[in-house]
């Protein structure tokens, strides 16, 4: 059996009366691209925040490559937060310099290549960019890192079609090499499902189904049908 990237055992997280995660059990093997799917409020972002040590579980156990999440394990994680923005005073060049300084494994050469591929002006200031361009900058900051785990929380929210296509092309280019574990949560299933090796379906803070995407397609006809059936 291969290495486990993320392990969650009976994880619970409450916000007041709301249970964001409710006895979540999940094992994500290393080296796979995993779609973490589910409706709003199903616990996807809370799970990602827990893996990156932003929040702590009220109960249960979380492990990232066998260690408790925290600032040390974040060396190995490239994380694109949900609804994130970038420092508006930065140019693309400055953002890359920032990443070079603070984010282990960041490759400037790779970032420049991706910026050219995504048609980003290096001297462009983030405050003057569209949301789509800003999303591309943030995606580059994540995928230009050579780290074993990449987490992208809703990378397509509020992004125009052109930017979305650019981002997906870059993802295909960078993350499908089997060397890294990639977790992506998204509602735009049609466009990215081809990327996924595995899918995890969450509802009310629990895993209601998980498995190999080929197997899920065989069982439900398509990933979209699987979603429709599971969240009926």
């Amino acid at each position: 059996m291969g290495e486990t990237a993320v392990l969650c055992e009976q994880v619970e997280k409450r916000y007041g009366a709301n249970r964001a995660l409710d006895g979540l059990d999940l094992t994500i093997p290393a080296g796979r691209v995993v779609g973490v799917l589910g409706p709003n409020g199903s616990g996807k972002s809370t799970l990602f925040r827990m893996i990156t040590g932003l929040v702590r579980p009220d109960a249960g156990r979380v492990r990232v490559f066998g260690k408790a999440p925290g600032w040390r394990t974040n060396r190995d994680i490239a994380y694109l937060p949900d609804r994130a923005r970038w420092y508006s005073d930065h140019t693309v060049q400055q953002a890359f310099r920032w990443a070079e300084t603070f984010l282990p494994g960041f490759s400037r050469e790779e970032a420049l290549r991706l910026a050219e591929f995504m048609k980003l002006p290096l001297d462009g200031r983030v405050r003057d960019m569209s949301r789509g361009q800003e999303a591309r900058v943030m995606l580059i900051l994540c995928i230009a890192r050579r780290v074993p785990l990449i987490i992208l929380d809703e990378p397509f929210t509020g992004i125009d079609t052109v930017s979305r296509e650019k981002i997906i092309d870059a993802l295909i280019d960078r993350v499908s090499d089997g060397e890294r574990t990639v977790l992506i949560s998204t509602h735009e299933l049609y466009e990215v499902e081809a990327l996924f090796d595995l899918a995890v379906f969450l509802e009310s803070g629990r895993v209601i189904r998980s498995g190999d995407t080929d197997e899920l397609r065989r069982q439900y006809g398509s990933m979209h049908s699987a979603m429709q059936t599971l969240y009926r």
């Binding site: 600032w71 994680i77 994130a84």
Partner: protein, 248 residues
């Protein structure tokens, strides 16, 4: 990158003043406002000087309002991470939360030093200009005026670490599950402020002409040292809040 140089890189990053995301006031407008204020001050200074009112020593009392800017700077550097949507990047940096909060603290203190220096230079210019216009500018007056300002500004600056640390904690509290404790922190802060600096008449006297006079004393040094130790404790508290008590 070694931990120490990463820390100073964080300080440099936090030192940059970041406004909340909204339409910024154009630079030309900001410069116009600064020029207008400078012109008004110049006019007042000229009027005062010509009227023979040249002893501006009491203006140095303004120094005791400046620690509040340190508080504002520290709170702002924390909460803008949330308001601008960059908090996820900041808090998942692979560095201890103590480093992250300490970098914000140091950046706020360094910015305060710049503000103090600018205020001192502006006050020095207008004070000496007034004396010049009134025809009373001489070496003795200049030295006395500048030295008084230096002492008062210096005394006020020593309070900044404590106030800035309180600002960092306050910013962390605002985004934590301990948010209901915010009014309590104000009560504690006021109490500590009073406890540490209540005996100000021992080191700060007011001359008959309204000019503040600072005298160094063991009480003053102990008070300042205590406030710095407390500042360190507050930074640790902020790190704990960011580590264990975030409401996200």
């Amino acid at each position: 990158m070694p931990a120490q140089s990463t820390f100073w890189a964080l300080v440099r990053h936090d030192f940059k003043h970041r406004r909340r995301r909204r339409t910024p006031i154009p630079r030309a407008w900001r410069l116009a406002y600064v020029a207008a204020v400078a012109l008004v001050l110049l006019a007042v200074a000229t009027y005062d000087g010509r009227g023979g009112h040249y002893r501006l020593g009491p203006v140095w009392w303004v120094a005791f309002g400046l620690p509040f800017t340190s508080f504002g700077l520290a709170v702002n550097t924390m909460v803008t991470e949330w308001k601008n949507g960059t908090v996820g990047w900041w808090l998942t940096l692979p560095y201890p939360r103590l480093h992250l909060s300490a970098a914000k603290f140091v950046a706020a203190v360094v910015r305060s030093v710049f503000i103090y220096a600018l205020t001192y230079m502006a006050m020095a210019f207008f004070g000496l200009y007034t004396a010049l216009v009134s025809g009373h500018l001489d070496l003795g007056y200049t030295a006395g005026y500048l030295l008084t300002g230096l002492k008062v500004m210096g005394l006020s600056l020593t309070v900044c670490p404590f106030v800035a640390a309180f600002g960092v904690v306050y910013g962390a509290l605002a985004e934590s599950r301990a948010r209901p404790a915010m009014p309590l922190t104000w009560i504690l802060f006021s109490g500590l402020w009073w406890l540490i600096f209540s005996q100000d008449d021992r080191y700060l006297q007011v001359h008959s002409d309204g000019v503040p006079h600072v005298s160094l004393s063991p009480t003053l040094c102990i008070s300042i040292a205590c406030s710095w130790v407390l500042a360190y404790g507050l930074i640790r508290l902020a790190a704990y809040l960011l580590d264990e008590q975030l409401a996200m």
